[in-house]
Structure formats: C-alpha cells, structure tokens
C-alpha cells in the first residue's frame, strides 16, 4: 500500500486523493494551476486512477473506464440495429429452412446476413458477451466511484480551504462590515428552501439533495438485478415455453405440469368487427382493411388431477374453474399462465358416409367416423356392416405410389373401407379419399357415399411459466427509482465562509446550474452579500 496523505487540516486522505476529502485543499500538484477544480467525484481517490500494476488492476481499470463503458453501449447499439435489417429467424414463416429463406427473399444480402449469423443475432455468443461485459462494467464502474464518493461526502467539513472555494464555478467575494444581521437572514432563507445548514466558526455549509448523487449507482444495481434475472432463465425449471393445441370438446394434459393439470376446450370464438353493429365511426377503417378481428377467445375448463394415479390409468379430474382465455387476458394458475396465441378454424373432426348401392342409390345406414379416434367396425344391422381397414389422416401417395400419412392431423383423411353386405359376404374393398375413390379389386356393387363433415375449431395456447419475472420486475423498479432519484433531484451545496473582513460565497451543483443560481440569488437578495459569479460563463463571454 502506498502512503496516505495527511492534509494540513488534519484529515488523513487515501493515496491518490486530488483534493482533501475534508477541507478541500488541493493535494495534487498538477491541479493547482487550474482555475476551476473538477468536482466530479469530489476529488476522491479512485482505485482505477491510483493503481495500475497487477493484472487485476488492469482488468479493473479497463472495466471501470466510462470510455470503455460507452464503447460497449455503442457497439451493442449498432449490433442491435443490424439485427433489425431483416427479420430474425424466429419471425420468418416456416415455409423453408432459414438457409434458403434469406437468400430467396433478400438475394445476396440475405445470404450474407444468414452466413454472418445475423439471423440469430440476439442469441449469438458475441452479443451475449457484449451484454455480459456491460454488466461487468456496470459493477466495476459503480464500485470504483461510489465508495470513495461516499467517503468524501461523509467527511466533508463546513470550513473549506480558500483554494477550494475560489476554484468553484460559482464564486463571489463581498466586503463584510455590517453583515451580522444578514447572516441570520441567510440562514433562515436557506432553511426555508429546505437546505440542511451546518455551521462552524461562523462559516456555513448548506446542502440539499445529496441522495440524488446515489441515483446512478442505484440504477446500476437495478440493471444488474435485471441482467441476473435474464440469466436465470437458462436455469432448468425457471422457464417454460410450450404450445398446447386443444380442440373443442377435447381434454388435454397441460405440458410441464407433471400431469397435474388438464384443460378442456369448450369453444373457440373468433369475432370480427361488423360495420352495422359496431361503432359506426369504424366504417371507413373496416372498408379500408377489409376485415378487422375483434376477439379471439377460448372458453376452457381447468381441471386438477385428484389423488395419485398409476401410469396408464385414467386420472380422476376435479374441476378448478371455467375461464374465457382472451388476448390480453391469460388464464393463471399456480406459476403458470395460458395465453390465447393462435387458432385453427374448422378443422375436420368427423366424417359421415352412407353405405349405398351404386345403381339404385339405396342407402343401408350411415357411419360417422371420428377422425381422431376411428372405430374399427360399424354394424348397420340386417347383415350390413362396414370395417375400416386402414386410415390415413393426412393422406398422400409416397414415391412408390403407396398411400401414406404425413401427420396425425386429419387435414386430408383417406380410408380403406371394407363393405360387408348379405349379397357380398366376402366384402368389397374401396379406397375413399376426398374427391376420389379407388376400387382396387374391380368394380364394386356398393359404395361409401359421402354425406357430410363435422368440423371443430382448435385453440393454440401458449403455456408459460417464468419464475424470473419477479427478479426482472424488481430490477426494473430499482432502475426506475435510481434513474428518477438521479435525474429529478440535484445535489446542491452553498458554502459561506468569512475570510478576514470578507464574506466568500461559493456554490456547486451536479446539474441544473440555472436553478442553483436562481436559488442563491433569492437567498442573498437584500442581505448585502453579493451574488457569486458564474466563472464558466464569465470565461465564455470574454
């Protein structure tokens, strides 16, 4: 450790102090020639300005520099802007892989954008490093400044050194013959303006709003809390982001709830604005847009599993509540929230066919196939029955010409029916798809005539759990408190000192000099003490 510096006032300052924390006497030789002193951190000894030997010093000094901090901000700013030139990967339509999409849509620049990894910019390692560096910079910058600043403001004394007062931006001297009465008046006025007035040997230090000096550090703490909250998302169990598709009438287990909660959709509702029924002032806008959505709503029932169940056993469900999930009105339970995110209208649910004779069109009964859970055999009585030999919910022919299914969703259902009738005891086989029928074993006598469909709407709900929210919110709150504290209040100090037969007045504020000047003007008005002069403005005007 280097030696501490003892000032002539008796106060012992840490090594590196520019002017005495207590009386303000200038300790640093190079500062003595300056007309005004730099009051930014009260001339206190900051670690980063004092030590530069070990590797730790170097890292500390790097991150404690505001210059580095500003560069980090600017680089992050530019990088963020680049990420908005083309849509990020998460926003592109799922038509084709990203590797093709960017080139296809945006040509050469799109390809370049993709190759440079800008399509996933905000989750790239280098962007995260930038954010992390800002976090480190926030911590080190704040510690480097707040500790010595706190010390300096705590030990400051009332009687300040002449050199300190002279080098304040606001400074003035008055001849002090008959100023005893004025002194009392000044003190009264200062107190009326809510200054905290301290007195020592007939000298005055009036101070207010010191807490605003802590604003920047408070808001930095808020940002750090916020960033920690952001990091916690990657801890397993903190964050859930799932989609739950549920059809009308269907009950499904809610993912990530360990099978505890089930959701039944009773109905999905889509409403659009109607020119005739809704507020007539919307008429023009509706004409312009064609159709404007008014409401997306899923009426659901939330169930909770009752007791323990053996896997495979059908659980017993207990109703928790009915709830209409709308956009902006999610269903909340425990730490989960279910949001109305998307929907599919009129998804095929059931199809009805009639077994009929081709020539006479005589019908021998109908079968209704549940496309999600088709029965294998339908007995129509009188010796008539229909079997479903094969079922392709999302049918297409593969490259070998074999029927296959693309998915489990009945987008294009196809069936192989076996029709058993009294006159054809071995049954006839028919392949039935939408708008086509194939009879693989020659002409049939009977057919499955299409009678109708039943559709259902499907709700696409986002299942969200985010245990980091309260930390993020706390970070935001602390940040706002800090920013307001620092921005809407000022730290003002007025020193009045008697030097021989004169009265010296000096003033300092961390911002809003205009306000301080007006306030000092008001305090000194009619007291015979001259208003201090703004030495910066004076210099400019010369």
């Amino acid at each position: 450790m280097l030696k501490n510096v003892k000032c002539e006032c008796g106060h012992v300052n840490p090594h590196g102090t520019i002017f005495c924390e207590s009386c303000g006497k200038i300790l640093e030789e190079s500062e003595k020639d300056k007309k005004l002193i730099d009051m930014r951190y009260e001339g206190s000894a900051r670690r980063s300005q004092t030590y530069n030997k070990t590797i730790i010093d170097k890292i500390w000094n790097f991150f404690s520099s505001v210059k580095v901090g500003v560069w980090l901000i600017v680089v992050t700013l530019v990088a963020s802007a680049i990420g908005t030139i083309f849509p990020q990967e998460m926003y592109i339509p799922p038509l084709m892989p990203a590797s093709e999409y960017y080139e296809d849509q945006y040509g050469f620049f799109g390809k370049l954008y993709y190759q440079l990894g800008f399509h996933n910019l905000y989750s790239s390692w280098w962007y995260l490093i930038l954010i992390a560096s800002i976090g480190v910079s926030l911590i080190i910058c704040s510690l480097d400044r707040v500790v010595p600043l706190y010390r300096a403001l705590k030990v400051q004394r009332v009687t300040r050194h002449e050199g300190f007062l002279q080098r304040q931006r606001l400074f003035g001297v008055s001849q002090g013959d008959k100023l005893e009465d004025s002194y009392e008046k000044v003190k009264e006025k200062l107190k009326a303006k809510r200054y905290h007035v301290r007195e020592e040997d007939g000298n005055i230090l009036a101070e207010k709003g010191r807490f605003s000096r802590w604003g920047p550090y408070v808001n930095h703490v808020g940002l750090i809390i916020f960033l920690i909250g952001g990091m916690l998302r990657f801890v397993p169990g903190m964050y859930v982001d799932k989609v739950l598709w549920v059809r009308e009438g269907e009950t499904k287990v809610i993912p990530e709830t360990d099978g505890e909660y089930y959701l039944k959709s009773n109905r999905f509702i889509l409403e659009v604005y109607d020119k005739d029924k809704d507020n007539e002032v919307f008429g023009d806008a509706i004409d312009r847009a064609g159709m404007v959505a008014k409401n997306y709503q899923s009426n659901v029932t939330l169930y909770k599993k009752k007791g323990d169940t053996v896997p495979g056993e059908k659980p017993e469900l207990e109703k928790v509540k009915d709830f209409p999930i709308r956009v902006n009105e999610p269903l909340k339970f425990e730490n989960f929230a279910l949001y109305q995110s998307t929907y599919k209208l009129d998804e095929l649910n059931k199809m009805t066919f009639a077994l009929s004779e081709k020539q006479t069109n005589q019908e021998f009964g109908t079968v209704t196939v549940d496309l999600y859970d088709p029965k294998e055999k339908f007995d129509l009585g009188n010796g008539y029955s229909v079997e479903i030999v094969s079922y392709f919910p999302d049918f297409e022919f593969d490259e070998n010409g074999e029927p296959v299914t693309k998915s489990r969703i009945p987008n294009n259902p196809a069936f192989v029916f076996k029709m058993n009738t009294p006159d054809k005891p071995d049954g006839e086989v028919s392949f039935v798809a939408i708008k086509q029928t194939i009879e693989p074993f020659g002409d049939n006598t009977y057919k499955m005539a299409f009678k109708g469909i039943e559709t259902k709407n499907v709700s696409g709900l986002t299942v969200r759990k985010d245990l980091t929210l309260w930390i993020i919110a706390l970070g935001g709150l602390v940040f706002m408190i800090g920013v307001i504290q620092g921005a809407y209040w000022n730290h003002r100090r007025i020193w009045i000192r008697r030097v021989n037969n004169e009265v010296w007045v000096a003033g300092h504020t961390n911002k809003n000099w205009h306000g301080l000047k007006r306030e000092i003007g008001g305090v000194l008005e009619g007291t015979g003490i001259n208003e201090p002069v703004d030495q910066v403005q004076e210099k400019q005007e010369k």
Binding site: V66, T84, M90, N279, A285, I472, V483
Partner: protein, 394 residues
Amino acid sequence: MVSLSQNLLHAAFFLYLAATVLFAGAIKDKRAKSKEAGPNKWGKLAILITLIGFASQLGYFITRWIAGGHAPVSNMFEFTTFFGMSLVGAFIVIYFIYQTPFLGVFTMPVALLLIAFASMFPNDISPLIPALQSEWLYIHVTTAAIGQAVLAVSFAAGVLYLVKDIDQTKPSKRTFWLEAVMYGLVVTLGFIIISSVFSAMDYKAEFNWIDKGDQQVKVEYNMPALTGPHKGELLTEGKFDPLVEMPAIINAKKLNTVIWSFIVGSILYALIRLILRKRIGAAIQPLVKKISLDLVDEIGYRSVLIGFPIFTLGALIFAMIWAQIAWTRFWGWDPKEVWALITFLFYAAFLHLRLSKGWHGEKSAWLAVIGFAIIMFNLVAVNLILAGLHSYAG
C-alpha cells in the same frame, strides 16, 4: 363528434403556426434586450396562443377518444399527432421553467411538421384488434410518446445551439451537417406538400404486379409512379407510366413516395437558398444573436434528464409489462422493441459522455440531433418499412 374533433385539430395547427411567427417576432424585437425583464409582449402573446392551441388539440384528443371509445393513439396518424401534441406540452413546461421564447421558434416548427406529417396518413378511427384491447395501450403509448417528446425538446435546443455557435463565415464540416439537418426538415415539408397536392387532385393509378411469392396483386399509387412495381401493369387509363421497374423485394410504392419527397424537398431547398443567398443556418443565425449558449445547453441537457426516465418507463418498462400480458413474453426482439432499446442505449451513452467525458456544448448538441434522428427512425422507418408486430399498415 368526429368532425368536431378534426376541426379542433385544424384550429390547433393554425394556432401553433401563429404562435411560431409570434415567437420569432418576440426574439427579433429590439426592445427585448434586457435579460431580467423576461419575455416581452410578443413572447407573452405567443405563449398564450400556444396554450390555446394546446387546449384545442387536447379537445381533439378527448372528443376523438369519446367518438372511438378508445384513446386515439392506435395508428400512425393518431400516434404522430399525439407526439406533436406532447412536444408542444413539453415545450410549454420548459418554457415556464426558463421563460425562453427562443425555444419556441425551434420547437413549434418541429411540432407543426409532425402534425402535418401525421395528417398524410389515413385518419379513420380504427377499431382495436384484440392485442390492442387493453388499458396498457393508453399507458404504454402515451408515456412513450411523452418521453420522446421531451427528448425532442433537446433536439430543438441542440439545433438552436448549433445555429448560434457554428461559424457560418466559411464552409466546414459543421456547417455542412447543420445544413443537412435543415435539408432533412425541408424534405419532410416536401413530403407534406406533394402528398397534399396529389391527394387534392385525387390522383389514383392502379397496377397489377407480381410479388415476391409470384402472386399477382393490385396496388394503388397516389402519386405518379416514377418507380413502378415488379412486372407492373398500369390498369388506370391516362395515368403516368413508370420510368423504372423495381425488383419484387423492394416496395416500389413507398420508394416512389420517398423519391417524390426528395425531389420536391430539393427544389424547395434550392429555392430557399436562391432567395436567401446563403445557408439556412446562416440566415437564421442573426435571430439567435442574443441567446446565451450556456442556457441553451442547459435546456438541452435538462430535457434529456427529464425525458430519459419517462421514455424508459413508457417505451421499455410499461412496454415489457404489456408484452408479457399480450404476447406472452416481456421481450421478443421485435424491431420496434429493439429500436426502443437502441434509443435507450443512445441516451444512456449521451448521459455518460456528458457526465464523465465532459461532452458539453456543441458535442452535446450534435448528440441531441442524432438522438432525435433515432427517434424519428423508430417512428417512421420501423413502422412503415421494417415489418414487425408494431407495423401499422402504411
């Protein structure tokens, strides 16, 4: 109710215009020499007219809210108009702190440009889509707009500072960039003029064209097409055939509007220069002769200090709360969100440079100008060009 609302807005516009002229008169008045005397007769009249205009615009806002059943901040026209009103409001507050008519000469024209710009967009009262049906619409949008408006005052102060401070006797980089700012304002005026002219002529030309996905679609131009759409085919008879055809990935209609604005803006700028026979910056410099640079710098800084927390609260914090409710996540890297973050980062850098690096005066003024450019980019480009959740059909 709707027509009353529109009339109140028009009244506000003309009152602001009158106030601008009066403010200019107030600082030109030779008797306004003494600093202590405060604003003179002209200045007092100007602020009175501004207040009446503001009240009138507030009337527009309230009546439109009643007519539509929701706060009028839900499309480009409404938002930009509100932004203009907030700017006037912010100016009024700053005016009463500092008693400075000269700030009006620079703030009011910006507000006028904003309101005129707003009226180039469809002013129908639009019904709210489900995502917008929330009280957070009012809370988030108005707070964000007020924050931006207060920050915009720092732009006005910045320009004022530069006009006064920059040496106009010989051309330099600084005079060039200040002229660039002036030119930008004139081009905005150009856009307003040309849009109004063609809209008064009721110009409509319809095209069939082939979009990115090889689909044939229709588009209606409201200005003669200089840049035609991809494989465009003019359907309306007797209208102007495009000079050049654009590839499908470029929105030829918007580009066309931009080109027209630049053409008209440039002609206008050339005319102004011909009449003035000097740079616009040089021409208005004598107006600001008596102004204290220090005070202007302080007003600029003060408005950033006041505006930054409001902006953060409205455009980031309230935005995140609402995004969590409506879009299931508080942050999703949507272009508008990112540009709000960029604005936040920029003003954070501004404050750090000022506090720690001593960037006062001119440097600070330039930063205020850049900051406003970012805000305008976020308003205009992000809504109309970059697609995203916030994009208003333009």
